[in-house]
């Protein structure tokens, strides 16, 4: 690469990415659709730090002293709540968006470390059910493949109202990915650019949701935990209303959350970041005296054990990962660099999950590409990654003197920036100041 002539000054406003997008739009007349999550920088868990133990607090010994990580999800109404060994779950990603091998790998990896995986906007496959010890079945506006038999086979039900990447938007699956099997499972013609509904077809508003949740409980004899998943927007009110509607668990997905296919304008411009969303959700739960009674699962940009520990410290009961799990399977791996180059991209930048030609064989329905992912090896990688997240979260919890990751608390942290402090409610480092405290 040649050094750029210093006289060439790039516009901050019209930078090369912006210019290229204007050119692309002018050429095609269609908005950009892509996968992955937001690429812009937003205040995140990186902007928080833990205060390790000191004179006033004592830490726990690294490997010797217990630091538990188990979590029970759905203890409010379900007669069979989910009991997980670690508080890190695999988020809903559809068969259709992902290959059958990728779904199997997610199930294997999650099961190996005692956590749950989740179906997606395309129904439940037998492979996925078979390889997942704990499987959460999504109940989405499209209701693709929805049926009472699978509902009863599930270990929990997740009513999806929205996703962080596109709160207010429906799903998309491009024609290239609608194979015979995907088309059949969704009762759709093969090869269409499928846009799924953004609203549930048979209820609107929180009062209807109460009845809908009751219906699902009646059909499954009040056994299964029922989650409500929302994209982070008006999180305080959404969480309060979901609790009132009778949810056992709430899943809050921040705007950074990944997606298989959404308009770029949606991914980058709708929703609030995960950081304020966690705070608002916990505030709503506490306000209703439901914190820890209705469990909170946080998603959107969870990458490391530090992110896990910080979400816990803010009051989450568990977290959920999408993008990071795919990366653990082999997404964006340099191993496939040649394939990425052929598509005009590079390992570390690939985001075209919608296109169906994923060199890593994960977001595809092409049998040849899908065969590149060995589900056993993928599962092992995911299990390893989940173990690392858990060990990291435990390390941080022990340093703060906690014998369970759930004992972490906001008081264990400080914020690095004024923005992160305002959003998380954690004081700016070295001060006792939280901007905006008292109102939001």
């Amino acid at each position: 690469m040649t050094e750029r002539d210093p006289k060439l000054r790039e516009s901050a406003l019209f930078n090369r990415t912006v210019i290229s997008e204007i050119q692309r739009a002018a050429e095609t007349g269609i908005y950009e659709i892509r996968g992955f999550g937001a690429k812009r920088a937003v205040p995140h868990f990186d902007d928080l730090l833990f205060l390790g133990a000191s004179v006033s607090r004592y830490p726990l010994e690294g490997y010797r002293e217990r630091c538990d990580t188990n979590v029970v999800l759905g203890s409010r109404f379900a007669s069979k709540p989910l009991e997980l060994d670690i508080p890190i779950t695999i988020a809903g990603m559809s068969f259709g968006a992902l290959s059958a091998n990728a779904k199997e790998a997610l199930g294997r990896g999650a099961s190996e470390v005692g956590t749950s995986t989740t179906t997606g906007d395309g129904g439940m496959t037998p492979e996925e059910r078979g390889h997942s010890k704990h499987l959460v079945y999504q109940y989405l506006p499209s209701r693709y493949g929805m049926n009472p038999n699978d509902l009863r086979k599930a270990d929990a039900i997740e009513v999806v109202l929205g996703q962080g990447a596109k709160p207010g938007g429906g799903g998309m699956l491009m024609g290239q990915k609608i194979s015979d099997r995907v088309a059949e499972m969704r009762t759709l013609p093969k090869g269409i650019d499928q846009r799924s509904a953004c609203r549930h077809p048979d209820w609107t508003g929180p009062d209807d949701l109460t009845i809908k949740i009751q219906e699902l409980r009646e059909i499954t004899n009040w056994e299964k935990p029922i989650y409500v998943k929302v994209g982070a927007t008006r999180t305080y009110y959404d969480v309060a209303l979901a609790v009132k509607a009778g949810a056992d668990c709430i899943v809050v997905d921040g705007m950074q959350g990944g997606t298989a296919a959404t308009q770029d304008v949606f991914i980058e411009h709708v929703g609030i970041p995960t950081l304020p969303a966690v705070r608002l959700a916990v505030e709503a739960l506490k306000e209703l005296d439901m914190h820890r009674k209705v469990q909170l699962i946080v998603a959107g940009g969870i990458r490391s054990g530090a992110d896990v520990a910080k979400a816990m410290a803010m009051g989450a009961d568990a977290v959920s990962i999408g993008t990071a799990a795919l990366v653990a399977l082999g997404d964006n791996s340099p191993e496939h660099e040649e394939g990425y180059q052929a598509l005009g991209t590079s390992a570390g930048f690939y985001h075209d999950y919608q296109a169906g030609n994923d060199p890593a064989g994960i977001s595809t329905q092409d049998p040849e590409l899908a065969a590149r992912l060995d589900p056993v090896l993928g599962g092992r990688r995911l299990a390893n990654y989940l173990r690392v997240l858990t060990l990291e979260a435990q390390t941080l919890a022990r340093a703060c003197g906690k014998s369970h990751v759930h004992n972490l608390e906001p008081e264990d942290m400080v914020a690095l920036t004024v923005e992160a402090s305002a959003m998380s409610g954690v004081p700016l480092a070295g001060t006792s100041w939280v901007p905006g405290r008292g109102s939001y």
Binding site: T28, R143, T187, P201, K212, E215, E218
Partner: protein, 228 residues
């Protein structure tokens, strides 16, 4: 004939009793009295039984039904027979909105009128409405047939996929990508069969057929330089 009185027993008792019936049960005829608008009556049934509900029922009546025949003698609330897989659901009165929503199979007959979004996202069910339907009927309908003996409201068949629509009366207006189509013999056969099963005496020639223009099936992408 077994009877459950919803003034004495809860809907939980009703549903768990019906779910608990063994496959070869000889208790195949059930009557539910005093529904009084209760929600979730006879949801998730999965046995070849007949259930008659005497009075008005609430939301999701006979939701996700499989195999059973459920007859509501009165009006029903939102989402009757939603996501039905098989079996039959009959409503002698009117149905609120989203009747038969997302249903994959079976037959839903509404003797009165159905409100908005009847057959929304239908995935294979057959629905016969003897009266009229409100706006956005068969919205995003994927498969199955909707027969309307009366009139259809605004945006009929909006964003339709492959569901087949038949209307005897007037259609206020068609939704995006829904068009009138030729009624060929194969369609007449489907329609005649559904009318007969629903106990309707109308002649098929009185109906018009509507379906998807299939123009929204793929995104329109230009290639400006190539066409210049």
């Amino acid at each position: 004939m077994e009877t459950i009185d919803l003034r004495k027993d809860s809907v939980r008792t009703l549903n768990s009793t019906l779910h608990g019936l063994p496959a070869d049960t000889n208790k195949t005829a059930w009557t539910v009295t005093n529904p009084d608008g209760t929600h979730n009556i006879a949801v998730g049934l999965d046995a070849e039984i007949d259930v008659t509900v005497k009075g008005h029922s609430g939301y999701y009546s006979a939701g996700m039904n499989q195999k059973a025949t459920v007859r509501f003698e009165g009006n029903v609330g939102v989402g009757v027979a939603e996501n039905m897989m098989s079996g039959e659901v009959w409503v002698t009165g009117d149905a609120s909105q989203s009747a038969g929503a997302t249903a994959h199979g079976g037959l839903l007959v509404i003797e009165g009128n159905a409100a908005a979004r009847c057959g929304i996202s239908m995935k294979g069910v057959d629905i016969v409405v003897k009266g009229s339907v409100g706006h956005m009927a068969a919205f995003m309908g994927q498969a199955g047939n909707l027969v309307v003996c009366g009139d259809a409201g605004e945006a009929f068949g909006d964003s339709l996929y492959e569901a087949g629509l038949f209307v005897r009366g007037s259609v206020q207006d068609l939704g995006a990508d829904c068009i009138e189509k030729e009624m060929r013999d194969e369609h007449k056969e489907i329609l005649a069969n559904l009318l007969e099963r629903a106990g309707c005496t109308h002649d098929v020639s009185e109906f018009r057929r509507y379906g998807s223009a299939r123009k929204l099936y793929n995104f329109k992408v230009d290639n400006a330089s190539a066409s210049a």
